[in-house]
Amino acid sequence: MNADAPLIEVVGLEAFYGRRRILHGVDFSVKRGEIRVIMGGSGSGKSTLLRHIIGLQRPVSGTVKILGVDVGLAGARELLAVRRKLGVSFQGGALITSMSVGENVALPLREHTELDETTIRIMSRLKLEFVNLGGFHDLMPSQLSGGMIKRAALARAIVMDPELLFFDEPSAGLDPVVSAELDELILKLRDALRMTIVVVTHELESAFRIADRITVLDQGDMLTTGTVAEVRASENERIQDLLNRRPRTVEIDVDDYLRRLTDEDG
């Protein structure tokens, strides 16, 4: 794979929940070394896009390629090899609740490497230090605050030194100071460890602070992809609605409305 090829390449991705279409032919690509923010309100399809990119859902139509591997066609072994090069930090942290913080961070190393226990311990503690959680390895996830859980999840996501890091809603549910600290961490990760990072968020401030480029999704449509300045200057009405926190005007089709009210199959 040559160095300029995009690490993530999504072409014409469509996604459905039941009969409802969540993504309408989304094209999306991320270059090596950039911080890309996927921005959009709730229900914009940004989490669905993320689930497809990290291979939790296989595309119904369209293709998703990560690190040059087509996720829809890849076999189990190929997918496993790709997943070892990804780190994902989930919205709620998704730490394994029956394991201590240290064990959680060490889990990928234990499962994927033949390193001895001392090396694993040192490596996982190094990552905990990196996210400012030094000394917390013996605590259980239930004993951590919201911000600490996100940082512990980040430590677990980067413990294998992934090429690609995904971060789902880093600042959701956190106070401004803690979310600003997380933004700094994300910038540090790119600058110090040269990771390519994809962040999904609806927080404008955080997006503008960290993004190299922003992709704006709205109701399953990809509205634009551009630098912070380009997105700010966009003349698209829906983008300006999002930037200026204007409520959407919902147009109601009378026939559709009546059909929804009376439909027996729901």
Binding site: I54, L80, E264
Partner: protein, 265 residues
Amino acid sequence: MKPALLLLNRLGRRTVAAVDAVGYGAGLVAEAMLFTVVGRRRGQPVRFAAIVEQMRQVGFDAIPIVMLLSLTVGLMLAIQFIATLSEFGAQTQVVLAVAKSVTREFGVLITGILVAGRSGSSFAARIGSMSVSQEVDALGVMGIDPVRYLVAPALVAMLLMLPVLTVLSDAAAIFGAALYSAPMLDISVPTYLAQTLEHLTPRDVWEGLAKSVVFALLITVIGVATGFSVSGGAEGVGRATTRAVVVSISAIIVADMIFSFFLNR
């Protein structure tokens, strides 16, 4: 839609859902077995330590309660058999009746029901709450296959431990029966036990053990499949746990009946 059509529609959907569930369960079992056998070569090893830990949880920790209840059921069987058999003046046949019914039926059935209540529910609750909090997704994207990591150790542990528990249950139940019957028959407990051994054939014990393997499979697959299909937060986990216990107990009782029918024709 007309009521009749609606009913038919619902019946069809339920049938499809049931077939789907059976297929999904069979797939889970096949996948877990495959990981156990060839997982190491594919970079998805089923850890020995995880199996041992599961064996402790589903097997070792269940020994006291299984033994206690089996002893009680043995006593109860002895009381009922002696009461009934003495009507024909055949109370000495209690040894034979208890020996056969315990090894073929009751030992394995009590064990199965207890383990379904203890471990089937805990599989469903654990995997269910992990699905809800995205822990299962997290394992997946870390390249740790959830079936290999969560299901395979549980399945192997159950397949190994349920037969062991069944043998212990058989012994405890027969001992319980001896406690009541020996004085009634004017013999000693060791004599009662010696007579039991004379009556028992390997086939009796094998029948119970074969059932225990099938029960282990049913309890595990129903527990984990229900866990993976949880939706709807904490309430969903509670519902799944209840459903796992009810469905797995129903399944083992039906399976037991089918087994007994074909093995005793």
